[in-house]
């Protein structure tokens, strides 16, 4: 079981991610945007952060950049939830410090496989 933070402004997407991961026995927290995710991350260490790219208040890329400045988030996997059309976003996310990405649309099985992949 891992502590996972799911960040997405879309309640449906966030809900689906959290629901799927909880079903797999993980401890999932949710945040609506990058800023709230940072607040959550400061309050406790997560083993994995899954974040949407486009969000109001603070987008996923800025959030990753901020997270990577925190010593306790060095090396922690952070995956961007992104869409195929945005190859440049993947690269921007990577440049900011993201570990990898999960391409939308994804189904619960793909999500679990990817999470398993990073958590080992």
């Amino acid at each position: 079981m891992a502590k996972i933070l799911a960040v997405d402004d879309s309640a449906s997407m966030r809900g689906m991610v959290a629901f799927t991961l909880r079903g797999a026995g993980h401890d999932v927290s949710e945040a609506e945007n990058g800023q709230l995710a940072l607040d959550a991350a400061r309050g406790g260490r997560y083993d994995l952060v899954l974040a949407d790219v486009n969000m109001p208040v603070m987008d996923g890329i800025s959030m990753v950049r901020e997270l990577r400045t925190m010593p306790e988030y060095k090396g922690v996997p952070i995956l961007m939830l992104t869409t195929e059309s945005h190859t440049d976003k993947k690269m921007e996310g990577k440049a900011a410090g993201a570990t990898g990405w999960l391409v939308k649309p994804f189904d619960p099985e793909q999500l679990l496989a990817t999470v398993k992949r990073v958590l080992g």
Partner: protein, 663 residues
Amino acid sequence: MSKAGLAQFQQVFIEESLEGLDTMESSLLALDNGGDGELVHTIFRAAHSIKGGAATFGFPEMSSFTHEAESLLDEVRSGKREIDGAIIELLLRTVDCLRNMFARAQAGEPLNDAVAEGLRNELAAMMGRGAPAAGVQARRNVDQADAWTVRFRPHAGMLAGGNEPLRLIRELAGIGELTVTPELDRIPEFAKLDPTECHLGWTIELKGPAKRADIAGVFDWVEDECDLAIEAKHIVAEVAAPVAAPASPAAPVANVADAGAARAQREASAESSSVRVSIDKIDGLINLVGELVITQSMLDTFREGDIDAARMAMLEHGLAQLARHTRELQESVMGIRMLPIASVFNRFPRMVRDISQKLGKQVKLELVGEQTELDKTVLEKIGDPMVHLVRNAIDHGLEMPDKRRASGKGDTGTLTLSASHRGGNIVVEVSDDGAGLNREAIVAKALQRGLIASGEGMSDEAVADLIFQPGFSTAAVTTDLSGRGVGMDVVRRNVSDLGGTVTIRSTQGKGSVFTITLPLTLAIIDGLTAAVGEERYIVPLVSIVESVQLKADAVRTVAGGGELFRFRNEYLPVIRLHDVFGCETSIRSIDEGLMVVVEGEGARVGLFVDGLIGQQQAVVKSLEANYRRVQGISGATILADGSVALIVDIAGLVRLQSRRKAA
């Protein structure tokens, strides 16, 4: 995850997407009016969320459709394309089309139609290319070999980014048998080593038949964070077979099999409506309940011991506190159903734009009090009457630019929608600075229609009120906007169904104000309790005109058995509640009881009751839900003594009465 698990988020997705579409629409309109570039990001974000979610939640058609719009927006966002009226127009139609698609999704119908197909082509054309050719796939020759050498040297920052060679090499081990040789020559001196950097490298021999793509796939996230060389040791074949489709091919089949179940799910969720409640409101409720519990335990101490003067004072204090908390709790619980009127107001910018363009009028729309909250049920039903009033105001109220200029006004007319709380009511006003009502035209029309015998001596209010009479229309030419066979009478009826009233104030040449007054909620009504024999009935306060005590000879029986009485200058039919509802009462003579003059469906009648007991707030309980529908009764409530009182449905009684008359 089960399909049912997914379905629960499908409904949430549809709800948030509809909100997203509203945002897109209002932002597009703001952009059209010279709004700033930040709006483009807002619009993009909304489109992007819909696209991303659509495919995940089982609407691939919508996803690919939105994709076109998103690409267009992306070009605007990144400055590659200037936004103009044509793009805004196209995107607005895209918003409409998506709304329709969501409606079809909720109904379980196929999402694509000719409109969607046409729009998709238009979007693609706008992007400067045709519809994407079907079936084009990136094809790469598949390198296949039964032994590979992988040289993998991470850049220093790779580890901090969360990519772990342990994981990568373990994944490789899933492809074939590995021999891993580390490169240790770049590790710096211990004291100088930054432990977060990576200075290791590996040469990995992989045995077993494998495709280059599978090996490269392991490293897809770190392409730009490492030096990677993948070399085949024994080339088996150059195969030109098409690459397997990236999405699992089994998925569509599964979708077909589950379509029935998914549809049932969707239908079920489409019917159940929900309210989103802010955490603040819930916290407030929890606080109140907490206080209630404290008060209750305080009052509990009075179970034992004598009550002297001091304790009596405490008891009174406690009871007062209980009353206050109960009232606050009631208000808070009602507050959960309260939503800002903004969701209704927000449909008007688009509508006003479309109508005024069609009519060649210039209209500026002002929204005031968008955050005013009202009951969700009222909110859902207030839209139609407002649409009618707004159409009417643009169509009949506001003048053409040249006519406005002639009367010394600016070319652009102003239409204001405002909402506010006044007392226990919500007041929604639709006002315009147009021509105002034309008294002569209205009187002439009313005479022609036989609604009045003469306009002489009629007050301006009475004349204005004529436009709410069934079948009244003053427009010289019936336009396709307002002239849809729906008149102001329908507006009045819709509003009165909500327990509200609609009135008009108008000044010729200056404009008109339509005022809709609505109860805050439909769950509680203010009413007068009337006694009929042993029974108690609640008469909604909004319907009551006056109560009068009549002399026995004031009521005349007309042919057919109906009774009439004179009230001011008209004869009103009498409805004896004891007759209608079959109650035993000794009070049958008109001078012994009370005549309550009420108004409903635009008509007045007198309700004959034994007497009035008092005014009270009644929490409406549905009779249909607990028993069955009863004509003339809108619900029930529980009185302070625990007995049940029925709430009189005035409009229903009036209808009942007119049917009797006809029979």
